[in-house]
């Protein structure tokens, strides 16, 4: 298992998997598969995948600990960057195909429409995370600061779910499903922290854990 997770090929495979939704969109575009409202379809598909990949990045830490596979961390940055990539596509379809680069109209939308406001917030908060995703930036900021900064992904995930929830007319089951998954993943973190603290009180002295930076 370890060998599999640390193999360079697995990384290539994950990379290809992350590109698959885009490839499918391209295929649909060439085969008349974007429905009668292609702009809406592209907007929804890129939005869906942004949220899905955010959920996957959030699942990596719990999964590492639960199944005891710390090497899973190798994929987190890539998946996170792909979430940002699809977020960029999603935002681009909105600003280009929906607003036609009318910035004034866009700002009016962001100020007036709560679902656009939270969506925009979710997107903007991903920018510093993508920018500081390199090893160099972890060093520059220091592990602790870097980790604090990257907790912004929790806000992005919640804002993303709210954005989806406020968008639908009545079929709330899908956004609520994402909401439930994000809630579980965040509650696990709280529980894990309380658990670790309780453990630390008993087991003096608490050693500094090199993997903690990645939690």
């Amino acid at each position: 298992m370890r060998k599999l997770l640390t193999s360079q090929w697995t990384k290539v495979l994950v990379f290809a998997f992350c590109l698959l939704p885009l490839a499918l969109l391209g295929w649909a575009a060439l085969h008349n598969g974007l429905t009668a409202n292609p702009i809406e379809y592209i907007t929804h598909t890129t939005g869906d995948w942004t949220l899905r990949l955010i959920v996957i990045t959030l699942a990596i830490t719990p999964l590492r600990k639960i199944v005891g596979q710390p090497d899973l961390i190798r994929f987190r940055r890539m998946v996170g960057l792909f979430a940002f990539f699809y977020g960029c596509l999603h935002f681009t379809t909105y600003i280009w195909l929906d607003k036609f680069f009318d910035l004034h109209d866009m700002w009016k939308d962001i100020a007036k429409r709560p679902f656009i406001t939270v969506g925009f917030l979710a997107f903007v908060l991903m920018i510093p995370l993508a920018f500081t995703s390199t090893a160099g930036w972890i060093r520059r900021l220091g592990g602790k600061n870097w980790q604090t900064l990257h907790r912004l992904i929790y806000v992005t995930a919640i804002a993303g779910v709210v954005h989806y929830y406020w968008l639908v007319k009545s079929a709330v089951i899908r956004p609520l499903t994402y909401g439930a998954i994000v809630a579980v993943l965040l509650l696990w973190r709280i529980a894990d922290r309380l658990w670790t603290k309780a453990g630390a009180v008993k087991e003096v002295p608490a050693k500094s854990d090199p993997q903690k930076v990645q939690a």
């Binding site: 429905t35 968008l167 009545s170």
Partner: protein, 322 residues
């Protein structure tokens, strides 16, 4: 024979395309489990099927006149209008109704007219088809989600039905109820709205000649996902007002509770007139995307039907009664 009880003279064989006869015959064969039946049985079924084709999807309809209400704008394609639908009983994604609505049995079909009427009655789809001359009406159709289409509907003014039913003086509103059967519509439980779907109009709105009792489009009967076999089409209101697959028309004294308005009264009003100046709380209604067009276009007051309907709302605050 039961199916011949209607006068057969109204639909001549010229009205029937071979394809639809074939399809209907096939349907009957499948339904009876007689796919391998003898020639005799096949012939009997053919006779049985022939008079019934009137109400099936894809059957040609004879249109007696073009309507002066028709727009000259470019039609959307049949493919667009049948593959991009809101019909939540068959799934909430736009492409789902086209896949799932095939299970809807649109023949035989009866619409019950009841409530505050002198002549409550049940009326069959065969009667509906010949109650008044069928007109083609090319209407703009504007969804509350800010997209729009142009469709050549077929039908006649809804007021023709009211002529038969004769509303009592107490009747002030009309409620339209759509067919609902959870067994045929398994996805409905995920839609987040209550069924059966109910919409409504004020009586004077229903009497307006633009309000269309619609039985077809593009020269033939309605596709199931577009509301077969009979729906209401109200071109100056958001699309959700135009209830599909009607089984009940009820005249009432009071404003009937309607599906979307009950779900979110702050977002969907009873009137739901197309109005670029009154936004949906969550999105703008100022512009719309005509399917097939790249750029959005401005939305028109009453969807461009002000001349016909603006007077219905004289003195009303349309921001309050949205």
């Amino acid at each position: 024979m039961l199916l011949r009880s209607q006068s057969p003279s109204d639909l001549s064989s010229a009205d029937v395309t071979p394809r639809s006869v074939y399809l209907n015959r096939r349907k009957f064969l499948q339904a009876a489990g007689l796919a391998g039946a003898s020639i005799l049985a096949g012939r009997w079924l053919w006779e049985l099927a022939e008079p019934s084709v009137a109400a099936f999807a894809g059957t040609k309809l004879t249109v007696s006149s073009k309507s002066p209400f028709s727009t000259t704008e470019k039609l959307n394609t049949y493919d667009d209008v049948t593959h991009y639908n809101n019909y939540y009983e068959f799934g909430v994604d736009k492409t789902e109704p086209a896949k799932n609505a095939g299970s809807l049995k649109t023949y035989p079909w009866t619409v019950s007219i009841e409530g505050e009427v002198k002549n409550p009655r049940k009326i069959s789809i065969d009667e509906i088809l010949k109650l008044a001359p069928l007109e083609e009406r090319i209407y703009r159709h504007r969804c509350v989600e800010a997209w729009s289409i142009v469709v050549p509907w077929i039908g006649y003014s809804f007021s023709e039905i009211l002529k038969i039913a004769q509303p009592t003086p107490k009747a002030k509103y009309v409620a339209f109820e759509s067919f609902y059967d959870p067994r045929e519509m398994p996805l409905a439980k995920y839609a987040g709205i209550d069924f059966p779907y109910v919409e409504g109009l004020r009586l004077d709105e229903a009497m307006n000649p633009l309000t269309l009792l619609c039985v077809g489009m593009y020269g033939e009967t309605l596709a199931n996902q577009d509301g077969a076999p009979v729906r209401i089409t109200i071109p100056w209101k958001y699309g959700f007002k135009s209830a599909k697959s009607l089984i009940k028309i009820r005249l009432t004294k009071d404003e009937p509770p309607t599906t979307w308005s009950r779900l979110a009264p702050n977002e969907y009003g009873f009137y739901a007139n197309v109005n670029p100046h009154v936004d949906h709380p969550r999105w703008s209604q100022a512009r719309e995307r005509r399917l097939g067009e790249f750029f959005k276009r401005d939305t028109l007051m009453f969807n461009g039907y002000s001349d016909q309907v603006a007077s219905l709302y004289n003195g009303m605050d349309l921001k309050k009664y949205f």
